[in-house]
């Protein structure tokens, strides 16, 4: 048999299909790589923008002031009574220190410009210091106080890219503004005072501890995430304490004890559906049940935790049931075979083996709950709360809500604080997910 032109031998035909199959596989791999590259580049863009915007918030420029703590201003009776000390007029101490640094500022407007250099929170820094140590009264102390956020932003180069701390310190005559006076946020007079303060060597950028220790504030330089972080902690604590035991018990009952009938089928379908219900619905439910019916306080982490419990329960139940299902029947049979009761079999053998899977599901549910704002809107946790909450009943807010509120604030400096708060939230989420992965890696058993 001779091979005619146009027809191929079986070997050639096989080679051709083989080539096609290889090509298809390579194409498929290429699609996969493209998908990963796209996803990664989006993630990288997100991280780069957020870190680029937010890194500045961890630094705050401060000015050193020499404050004379005059007893006649804050403690005329010389009794060091803490109540009186708390109410005293510390602003005048700050003003005196500033006016003595700028003796040439005598007109009302100039003095106002000088006062504006320093954060209105400076007086509270000094108050706290004096109240911690009343022996300072009558002495001259040197304190670092935060600069006003608008000047802090100038020094970070966020107001005018051509001008930052170094330029301000080193440019001797003209500051190279890219906009004429009147169109920029800082006037020549204000810039002059700022430059003078820098030249005197009193200004430096240092770690912004206020960002981590303060509650919310309308002065960006005093605003911190601690209040929201504590609120998130209380909320998650309530969520965990309720949703973990309830979720695990429900999963054990449904998986191990419940008879397989129409009713349990309906329950199962409903649990799966609940996992997909928009979270705002849980907020409305929380408003109707916990606030209006039970009369719990508004804005409390307790109520937030209850609402988020409703939201995370389906996730935990589904994950726990999957974990229970993955324990091989031979374990149960062996336990029952040596005479263990059903409960003993579950508690002593099945549950320990299913626990890593359950914990992973729980942590992922918690991470979801940490990022929620919508259900909290209805129960009043989207609020301006300055005081750091001391219990789950105190009004508070949570980290994602804090981010939302700052993103909506007109002050320029809140932009970088928004990004910085996002970084902290992402940090927590990554940490929680890492713990979930670690638990799975360490305790998971494969059969």
């Amino acid at each position: 048999m001779t091979a005619e032109s146009g027809t191929k031998s079986p070997t050639e035909r096989m080679r051709a299909t083989l080539r096609r199959r290889y090509a298809a596989e390579r194409r498929f791999q290429a699609y996969g790589i493209v998908a990963i590259v796209v996803a990664l580049s989006m993630l990288v863009t997100l991280f780069v923008t957020i870190i680029g915007n937010g890194a500045g918030a961890f630094v705050q420029h401060t000015a050193r002031l020499d404050i004379s703590v005059y007893p006649q201003d804050i403690d005329p009776g010389r009794e060091a009574d803490l109540d009186a000390l708390a109410r005293a007029n510390y602003q005048s101490l700050v003003n005196d220190a500033l006016y003595s640094m700028f003796p040439e500022a005598t007109s009302r407007q100039d003095r106002r410009a000088v006062r504006d250099l320093i954060s209105p929170g400076a007086k509270f820094v000094i108050r706290d210091m004096v109240m911690d140590d009343p022996s300072l009264i009558g002495q001259r102390v040197s304190v670092r106080v935060p600069l006003s956020s608008q000047y802090d932003q100038v020094l970070k180069g966020n107001v005018d890219p051509a001008v930052d701390f170094r330029v301000m310190r080193e440019s001797s005559t003209e500051i190279p503004w890219s906009l004429p006076e009147g169109e920029r946020l800082i006037s020549d007079t204000q810039a002059g005072y700022l430059q003078q303060l820098i030249r005197q060597g009193e200004v430096e950028g240092s770690f912004n501890r206020w960002f981590f220790t303060n509650g919310d504030s309308r002065q960006p330089e005093l605003a911190g995430i601690w209040g929201a972080a504590v609120g998130s902690m209380f909320t998650l604590m309530v969520t965990l304490l309720l949703s973990f035991p309830i979720g695990v018990s429900a999963a054990i009952y449904l998986e191990e004890f419940a008879p397989k009938n129409r009713l349990t089928d309906i329950i199962e379908v409903n649990i799966n559906n609940l996992a997909a219900v928009p979270s705002i619905v849980f907020g409305l439910l929380g408003l109707a049940v916990f606030l209006q019916f039970f009369g719990l306080p508004r804005s409390a982490p307790l109520v937030g935790g209850l609402v988020l419990t409703l939201m995370t329960l389906p996730t935990i139940i589904i994950a726990s049931r999957a974990a229970l299902k993955s324990v091989p029947p031979s374990i149960r049979e062996a336990a029952l075979g040596v005479g263990a009761s059903k409960l003993q079999c579950i508690v002593h053998h099945v549950l320990p083996l299913a626990m890593p899977g359950m914990l992973t599901g729980t942590i992922i549910g918690m991470a979801q709950a940490l990022g929620e704002t919508a259900p909290l809107l209805m129960i009043g946790m989207v609020a301006f709360v300055v005081d750091v909450p001391g219990s789950p009943l105190d009004p508070s807010t949570v980290l994602p809500v804090q981010i939302y509120l700052w993103a909506d604030s007109p002050e320029r400096a809140f932009t970088e604080r928004t990004s910085a708060a996002i970084m902290c939230l992402l940090g927590f989420l990554i940490l929680m997910n890492a713990v979930a992965v670690l638990l799975r890696k360490r305790f998971e058993r494969r059969w």
């Binding site: 309530v238 035991p245 609020a383 009004p395 909506d408």
Partner: protein, 339 residues
């Protein structure tokens, strides 16, 4: 461990029964426009007096009145912020729930500005021109036609030859309501076709903005509008004065009816698009919730709402001296001035 957590959870749930009885913290709800100002006062009040800082929720004016008018007692808020005056229907709701004595405290003015990027030429518009640029249907020779204008120069030859593109707040926003009332309504009234219309018809004509993509709802976040203007010099944006004030190196205000949106022009009343902002006080709570009088004193202090006060630094336009005195007296003497 599981037993322990169940126990803890049970204790936590039982422990809270009946906690709603006492409250030593002022609660404020309401408008997101007044929120930036009330929060500053709340923070200053807290730091000055050492009392718990009032909790301020941003619920919108309407949502605020709903919560405020729901009744008396610690579970209901003590103040509500509003970027418009209380409606008679809301006064009725309040009264039917036992909230009879309410004091209206006008706190100042807020300008609504139109602005575009610094890199574009600044605009000078009249209300009529804005109406023609943004209304869904416009009158033409006695007829109502779907808005035909695509460029500003189509409306008036003196305006730049640029596409009409305006970013503004969504219908849920108080800024949008005020803009419609202060700009679109008089803009419509300048045409003969608008006269003699039934009230409902008039509203439909004057208050319906075009939906062909030339007016873009940009969401409640004014910072976002400013960012979009910077990226797109062809667009105009509508937002509150404080955002113009904080971003005057990025955007410039549009001159409306010959007046530029500056602090001085809004304060003097020359700039035509400004609205009063209010705080409503539940007088029955005064004396029950500690600190309400002191909070009102702080709000009405010259250091706060005066021309040189810290609220004006945040972009609130102060009222004239006489008006401030009038509202301060009303608030401190618990005058019921809404009925």
């Amino acid at each position: 461990m599981i037993k322990k957590s169940i126990l803890l959870a049970a204790v936590a749930t039982v422990g809270v029964a009946g906690v709603a009885e006492a409250r030593d913290q002022i609660r404020i709800v309401g408008s997101s426009t007044v929120y930036p100002f009330t929060t500053v006062v709340a923070e200053t009040f807290g730091k000055k007096t050492g009392m718990p800082t009032p909790v301020v929720e941003s619920t919108g004016s309407g949502g605020g009145f709903k919560l405020f008018c729901a009744g008396l007692g610690v579970e209901h808020p003590d103040f509500t912020n509003a970027s418009r005056a209380i409606k008679s229907s809301e006064v009725e709701t309040c009264a039917s729930n036992g909230v009879e004595a309410v004091t209206e405290l006008k706190v100042g003015y807020d300008g609504i500005v139109m602005a575009n990027a610094k890199s574009a030429p600044s605009l000078e518009l009249t209300k009529t021109q804005i109406y023609l640029a943004l209304a869904k249907d416009v009158p033409q020779d006695g007829e109502w036609v779907a808005n035909p204008y695509t460029k500003w120069s189509d409306i008036d030859a003196s305006l730049p030859d640029a596409e009409i593109e305006v970013l503004g707040p969504p219908p849920t926003s108080g800024t949008r309501d005020a803009f419609l009332e202060l700009v679109m309504e008089p803009g419509c009234e300048s045409f003969a076709e608008c006269e003699g219309l039934e009230k409902a018809d008039f509203k439909a004509r004057a208050f319906t903005l075009r939906e062909d993509g030339r007016f873009i709802e940009a969401g409640e976040n004014d910072n976002l509008i400013v960012q979009k203007l910077e990226a797109n010099p062809a667009a105009l944006g509508i937002f509150g004065f404080s955002f113009l004030d904080q971003n005057m190196d990025k955007v410039q205000g549009t001159v409306i009816e010959g007046e530029a949106p500056t602090f001085e022009n809004i304060a003097s009343g020359a700039y035509p698009v400004s609205r009063p902002l209010f705080v409503y006080v539940k007088t029955a709570h005064m004396g029950v919730i500690p600190g309400m009088e002191a909070f009102l004193q702080e709000y009405t202090d010259e250091a706060a709402w005066g021309p040189e006060g810290y609220l004006s630094d945040k972009g609130l336009i102060p009222m004239p001296d006489a008006e401030r005195a009038e509202y301060r007296d009303a608030a401190l003497n618990k005058v019921d001035n809404i009925n």
